[in-house]
Amino acid sequence: VAIEMLSAAADLGTALKGFAAIGHNAALGLAPVGHGDGWIEYRMEWRSELTGDPERLLIAPGAIYSLLDTTCSLTPWAKLGRFAPSPTLDLRVDYLRPPRPLASLVARGECHLTTEHLAFMRGVAHEGDPTDPVAICTGTFMFVDLKP
């Protein structure tokens, strides 16, 4: 029902807010930052629940993976101009360096190409400066008709 409601959302910005309020995305505390032709951005505020290392206060690798997965899986909409559910087929994340203590992260997803069935994506997670990334990713997503 939630997916259908969001599919009918008038614009991408509204839909990105809606997706951020669901399940795991809500637990991550995601908030949309912006979107354009073939790209979207989500922000993940630092919270203690997202850390992996209690002493160093760093956001956990798993949470960074989730941020990039959510971002890249919704980016095809920004390319297509309509909502087409696209679960992850495969996703590789490279952890370039640890995030800074207490740092919030921004992820940007970009679409290389969409075909009838597939979307080829790349993404980057950073602390505000995209030229100084924490993690980068490459993934393939598949358009499907999701049944509830």
Binding site: G23, E49, G52
Partner: protein, 127 residues
């Protein structure tokens, strides 16, 4: 166990052969869409299982301090939707050397021969 793994109700256990595995009872914090787990929750379960496998392989170093293990990369293949039911993940050592550990991992619900995700992980070991 880290706070993010706790948020997803991930815990470490031993399988019947005594090898470390990770278990998760997915709740709302792990849900991606109705009736399916989020890919990132699955990846986190797998990462914790991989980390447990590396720690087990490194063993107890006696007087040596435990090495730090850092995730360098993780690639997850999503084979089918991850069900919102109790599930497990296991990491197997492909190779472990002085500086790098290569892990193959998978996650499943009822039947380990029908995994819903398979992954490769690379960890850096620093002593």
């Amino acid at each position: 166990m880290n706070a993010f793994a706790n948020l997803l109700a991930i815990r470490t256990a031993l399988d019947e052969a005594g090898a470390p595995i990770c278990e998760m009872t997915p709740g709302d914090t792990a849900m991606g869409r109705p009736s399916a787990m989020h890919g990132g929750a699955i990846a986190t379960l797998i990462e914790q299982a991989g980390r447990a496998a590396v720690l087990k392989a490194l063993g107890n170093g006696g007087d040596q301090p435990t090495p730090a293990i850092t995730l360098v990369s993780m690639t997850v293949d999503y084979l089918r939707a991850g069900p919102m039911r109790d599930c497990r993940a296991r990491g197997d050592i492909v190779k472990i050397g002085g500086r790098v550990a290569n892990i193959a991992a998978q996650a499943w619900a009822e039947d380990p021969t029908k995994p819903f995700a398979a992954a490769r992980l690379t960890f850096l070991i620093t002593r």
